[in-house]
C-alpha cells in the first residue's frame, strides 16, 4: 500500500492555489462590468453578446479558475497522489486560462473574430495541461473511493466541454457552417452537468460529512450516482446526433438527468439537516443555498418540458439558476473555508517559532461578518437575476449585486493573503 498521502510535503506551496483564488473574483467584477456596459437588459435576451461574454467570465474566469487551483491542492489529500510538476502545471494552466478568458470575453463582447481565434488555442492549452496532469495523477493513485471516480468522470466531461467550446469559438470566428444550437447544448450540458456537477458531487462526498459533521452519504448513492449521471449525459449527447429523434426519448433522457441531480441535492440537504455541528457556519449556508438552487433548477427544467409555450424562457432560467445559484454558491462557500485553512496550515509549518509568534486562528484570517454579508448579497443578487428576465429594473439590482460580490470576495482573499504575509514576516524576524 502506498502511503504518500500521509506526507505533509505533498501539499503544493501556498502560492499555487492562492494565485488562482486571488485572480478569480476579479472576473466576477469584470462580468458585472460587461453586463453594465452591454446596454439594455442583458438578462432579457439569452443570446446577447454581453450575457455570453459575462457568462464565460464567470464559468472560466471565476469557476474554472478556482476549481483548477483547488484540484491541484485537493488531489494529494483526497486520493493520495499529487499533480506532477505542480509549479509548472500551475503556471501553464493559470496564465493561458486567464489570458484566454479575457480574449474570449472580449471577442464575444466586441464581435471580433481575431480575438476568438487567439482565445480558443490558449484555453485549449490551459485545459490540455490540466487534464493531462490530473489524469496522470488519477492513474498513479492507489486509493479507490467514490471521490476519485467522480473526479475522473468530471475530467472526462471537461475534455468534451472544452473540445466543444473550442469548436464553437473557432466556428463563430470563421463563420463555418456548424450545427451551432446542438453544439451549444452539448457544450453547456457537459460543462455544467458534467464537469461542474460531478466535481461538486465528488468533493461533497468528502467535505460535507467531514467538516459539517453530518452522517456519511449512503453507499447506494456514492456507488451509483456519478456513473449514472455520466451515462445519462452521454445518452443526452447521443440523442443530439440523429436528424430527428422522437420527442419522448429526449424528454426521458433529460428528466432522468434532473431526477439524479435533484436526488443529490435532496440527499445533501437531508444530511446537512442531520448535522451534529449546529453552530452557524457561512460555508454551510452557501452550500445549502447551492443545493436548494440545484433543486430549483431541476424544477424549472422539468416545468419547461411540461409547458411548451414557456419552454425556452424556463430553460434559460434553469441554466442561470444552476450557474449562479448552484455553481457560484458552492464555489464561494468553499473558498471561505479553504483560504483561512491554507493560511493557517502554511503558517503553522513555521514550527516552534510560529507557535511563539502566534498563528492567527481561522476566524482571524477573513473577518466573518463580511462573509455573512456576502451570503445575503449573493441571495439578493440571485433573486434579482430571476426577476430580471422579465422585469428590466431588477437587472439594475442584479448587476451591482454581482459587482459587489466580486469586490467582497476580492477583499476577503486579499485580507487572507496579507494576514499570511504579515505573520510570515513576524515568524521570520523571530528566527533571525
Amino acid at each position: 500500500m502506498k502511503m504518500t498521502s500521509l506526507s505533509t510535503d505533498q501539499a503544493p506551496p501556498i502560492g499555487v492555489p492562492l494565485r488562482f483564488f486571488a485572480v478569480a473574483p476579479i472576473f466576477i467584477v469584470l462580468a458585472a462590468l460587461l453586463l453594465a456596459v452591454g446596454g439594455g437588459n442583458p438578462f432579457a435576451d439569452m443570446h446577447s453578446p454581453a450575457l455570453l461574454a459575462a457568462t464565460h467570465c464567470i464559468t472560466l474566469g471565476f469557476m474554472a479558475m478556482v476549481m483548477l487551483g483547488a484540484i491541484q491542492q485537493l488531489l494529494p489529500v483526497v486520493i493520495g497522489s499529487p499533480m506532477p510538476a505542480s509549479r509548472l502545471v500551475a503556471w501553464f494552466t493559470f496564465l493561458p486560462l486567464m489570458a484566454g478568458t479575457l480574449l474570449l470575453s472580449g471577442g464575444f463582447m466586441l464581435g471580433k473574430p481575431e480575438l476568438l481565434n487567439l482565445a480558443w488555442p490558449l484555453l485549449g492549452l490551459a485545459f490540455l495541461v490540466f487534464i493531462g496532469a490530473s489524469l496522470l495523477s488519477l492513474a498513479r493513485a492507489t486509493a479507490q473511493n467514490a471521490t476519485k471516480t467522480a473526479i475522473l468522470f468530471s475530467v472526462l466531461s471537461l475534455i468534451m466541454a472544452a473540445t466543444l467550446g473550442m469548436l464553437l469559438a473557432r466556428g463563430y470566428a470563421t463563420g463555418a457552417p456548424l450545427p451551432y444550437a446542438k453544439l451549444a447544448t452539448a457544450h453547456i450540458s457537459m460543462a455544467l452537468g458534467g464537469w461542474v456537477l460531478l466535481l461538486a458531487i465528488g468533493v461533497s462526498y468528502q467535505v460535507i460529512p467531514m467538516f459539517q459533521l453530518t452522517p456519511n452519504y449512503p453507499r447506494w448513492l456514492t456507488a451509483s450516482l456519478v456513473p449514472a449521471l455520466f451515462t445519462v449525459l452521454l445518452l443526452n449527447l447521443a440523442l443530439l446526433l440523429p436528424e430527428s429523434v422522437p420527442g419522448w426519448a429526449k424528454y426521458a433522457a433529460e428528466i432522468l438527468f434532473w431526477l439524479l441531480a435533484g436526488c443529490f441535492a435532496a440527499v445533501t440537504l437531508r444530511l446537512q439537516n442531520q448535522r451534529r455541528r449546529r453552530v452557524p457556519d457561512v460555508s454551510l449556508s452557501f452550500f445549502q443555498l447551492g443545493m436548494a438552487s440545484l433543486l430549483f433548477a431541476a424544477l424549472l427544467s422539468l416545468a419547461a418540458m411540461l409547458w411548451p409555450a414557456a419552454h425556452n424562457y424556463l430553460r434559460a432560467l434553469s441554466i442561470l439558476v444552476f450557474l449562479l445559484g448552484f455553481g457560484l454558491s458552492i464555489v464561494q462557500g468553499m473558498l471561505y473555508k479553504v483560504i483561512p485553512f491554507l493560511v493557517w496550515f502554511h503558517l503553522f509549518r513555521g514550527g516552534v517559532k510560529a507557535v511563539k509568534v502566534g498563528v492567527p486562528n481561522m476566524k482571524e484570517i477573513i473577518p466573518e461578518p463580511w462573509m455573512w454579508r456576502h451570503l445575503w448579497l449573493h441571495g439578493a443578487t440571485l433573486l434579482a437575476v430571476l426577476l430580471a428576465s422579465w422585469w428590466d429594473a431588477a437587472a439594475w439590482v442584479a448587476i451591482p449585486g454581482l459587482l459587489l460580490q466580486g469586490a467582497l470576495l476580492s477583499y476577503g482573499v486579499f485580507t487572507g493573503i496579507s494576514v499570511y504575509r504579515r505573520t510570515l514576516k513576524r515568524i521570520e524576524q523571530a528566527e533571525a
Binding site: 500500500m1 498521502s5 500521509l6 505533509t8 467531514m210 476566524k363
Partner: protein
C-alpha cells in the same frame, strides 16, 4: 471481530460528538456546559492519543511497519494538543470569540487527521498487526 480501524473510528466519532456539544454551548455563552463537554472532549482526545502513541504506533514500528506516516501523525498530534491547550485557556477566560475561532481551526485539522488515520493508517495496522490484534485490544482497553 472488531478491527482496529472500526474500534478507533468509533472513538473519533465519540470525540466529534463532545466537540460539537462544547462548541454549541460556547457560542451560546453557556460556559458551565461548555466546560463539562470540553473536558470530556479533551480527555477523550488525550486517551485516544495515548492509545496510539503507547500501544499502536510502537506495535507498528516493532512489526516493521512504515515509520514515515507515524511521524506525520505524531506531528499532527502536537498541533492538535497545542490547539486544545489554547481552547482550554479560552474556556477558562470565557472568551467566546477566541473559542469559536480555535474550534473552527481544530475541526479542520482534526478531521483531516482522522480521515488519514481511518483510511490509510488503521487499515495498514489491521493488515500488519492481524496476529497480535487480540493482545493489543486488551492493552488498548486498559488505557
Amino acid at each position: 471481530m472488531t478491527t482496529i480501524a472500526e474500534f478507533m473510528t468509533a472513538k473519533h466519532g465519540a470525540c466529534d460528538d463532545e466537540f460539537a456539544v462544547a462548541e454549541e454551548n460556547a457560542l451560546d455563552g453557556n460556559w458551565g456546559k461548555t466546560e463539562t463537554a470540553f473536558n470530556a472532549f479533551h480527555n477523550g482526545m488525550a486517551q485516544h492519543f495515548k492509545i496510539e502513541e503507547d500501544v499502536l504506533f510502537p506495535a507498528l514500528a516493532s512489526a516493521g511497519g512504515p515509520s514515515g506516516p507515524v511521524q506525520v501523525m505524531l506531528m499532527e498530534h502536537t498541533q492538535i494538543r497545542g490547539l486544545l491547550d489554547e481552547m482550554a485557556a479560552a474556556v477558562t477566560e470565557k472568551n467566546e470569540q477566541e473559542y469559536s475561532g480555535l474550534s473552527e481551526t481544530l475541526l479542520i485539522v482534526m478531521q483531516q487527521h482522522n480521515h488519514k488515520e481511518e483510511n490509510i493508517l488503521y487499515p495498514i495496522m489491521d493488515q500488519i498487526l492481524s496476529k497480535e490484534r487480540e493482545a493489543l485490544f486488551v492493552r488498548m482497553q486498559a488505557i
